[in-house]
């Protein structure tokens, strides 16, 4: 996790609190910069608007690291339903299913539907492994999307961009956006003013977390250069099943917890596979995130809440 020693103390402390307090993360966009806040605090309630991020549900996963991934997804949704401040919508940053099976997508939809929120999805690599290379995902979630499922939308002055970096992966590489998507992104951004707050979300991190484990996106530098003229860029990812944060200029990167199982800190294990923890500790590693946007010059508030509280 990167450090921001000038002004990051509050945020870092808050994040650490959140990690151990184990509730959810509320992302608040304030003047385009994300801020975290514990769920249920007054800060979230005062937001211009807030939205939620959940990730890596892996519905269908039943191995020792979590024999009931659908169960913990339902627990995450219970947390969301119980939130005092109603979010405007929710994003899911991929790996909805474990194996792209219709039953797994059905079960996920049923659980997530209980939140009664508009949900915007991007696929993880586990969502694109049906026999028709992603057709199952795109028919269900990609009706208004381009290419392999990318799209943009606006919410109260904030421009949201959902990217796909899990298809057409190259031997020896990491995540991949590809030329067609990058051209679309350039076109999407060209008429936006530099003061427009931007939120980018994709499954695999858009910064290189651990190249040996493929935790990065091969051509993310091209996407980030297209975003470099904007004063506020927030990048939200999943895939690595743990919280990480990095600030680079005007760009803040965050990875989210899974609702299914944790993965190890890079370098701490032989492989990035599911990390088995004592059953009583599992819910400390799983969670949901809220982001709140405040009109004005404050950053987006990002709040991660673990399922265990």
């Amino acid at each position: 996790m990167s450090r921001d020693d000038d002004k990051g103390l509050d945020r870092r402390q808050a994040l650490e609190c959140m990690i151990w307090a184990g509730t959810g993360v509320l992302w608040t966009l304030s003047g385009g910069v994300p801020k975290s806040a514990l769920l249920g605090t007054a800060q979230a309630a005062e937001a211009g608007f807030s939205f939620l991020q959940i990730s890596d549900s892996h519905v269908g996963f039943d191995k020792p690291a979590n024999p009931n991934a659908l169960g913990t997804l339902n627990e995450a949704i219970d947390k969301i339903v119980a939130m005092p401040a109603r979010p405007s919508f929710m994003i899911h940053t991929g790996d909805i299913s474990h194996l792209s099976k219709a039953k797994q997508f059905d079960d996920a939809d049923q659980a997530i539907g209980r939140a009664k929120l508009d949900v915007r999805y991007v696929p993880g690599e586990h969502d694109m492994i049906d026999e028709n290379n992603g057709k199952a995902y795109l028919e269900r979630y990609g009706k208004n999307a381009k290419g392999a499922g990318w799209y943009a939308f606006d919410q109260q002055g904030v421009h949201f961009i959902g990217l796909v970096n899990v298809v057409d992966l190259k031997a020896g590489g990491m995540g991949n956006l590809g030329a067609e998507q990058l051209a679309w992104l350039a076109d999407d951004l060209k008429d936006k003013s530099a003061s427009t707050p931007i939120v980018v979300f994709a499954h695999i991190p858009l910064w290189t977390v651990a190249p040996d484990w493929g935790w990065g996106t091969q051509d993310s530098a091209q996407a980030l250069s297209l975003l470099s003229r904007f004063g506020s860029v927030t990048v939200l990812n999943g895939h690595i099943h743990q919280l990480m944060q990095k600030v680079e200029g005007a760009v803040s990167f965050y990875t989210a917890r899974s609702t299914a199982f944790p993965q190890p800190v890079p370098g701490s294990a032989a492989s990035p596979g599911p990390m088995a923890v004592p059953a009583g500790d599992l819910r400390k590693y799983l969670g949901v995130r809220s982001v709140a946007f405040h009109q004005g010059n404050e950053p987006l508030a990002v709040t991660d809440a673990a399922l265990a509280s």
């Binding site: 031997a171 493929g214 032989a270 990035p272 596979g273 599911p274």
Partner: protein, 117 residues
């Protein structure tokens, strides 16, 4: 150059399990069995990462991880479906040459099959 002939995919079936057991047994017994070879997928790695086989050898890939993987030839000559835990995929290599392959879900995972008379 045409190479692979009979790629086949076993779902988790009795048939596949029996064949894998046999292959594993052969490999344990004599190091390398004539005509067959096994590559395990363990801890996000193809093991062994490089194998050298004679033309006509059938290579069986078995996923032993809790996460699905696939086997994709870098030149597009063969590719498996996503292999769930304990699923296997077989390719018979008839033509001499070097075949670089990777996991389509986790492309940092690479392996090589060298086919030499």
């Amino acid at each position: 150059m045409r190479t692979l002939t009979k790629p086949s995919f076993f779902a988790r079936s009795t048939c596949g399990a029996v064949i894998i057991a046999a292959l594993t047994g052969l490999a344990l017994g004599s190091g390398v069995a004539e005509g067959t070879m096994a590559v395990a997928i363990d801890n996000f790695a193809f093991t062994p990462a490089t194998i050298t086989v004679k033309p006509g050898t059938t290579v069986t890939f078995e996923n032993r991880d809790d996460i699905p993987h696939s086997v994709v030839d870098a030149d597009g000559k063969f590719h498996s479906k996503a292999l769930d835990t304990n699923d296997t995929f077989q390719v018979t290599f008839d033509q001499p040459g070097e075949y670089i392959y990777y996991c389509g879900l986790h492309p940092h995972m690479k392996g090589k099959v060298v086919v030499a008379p």
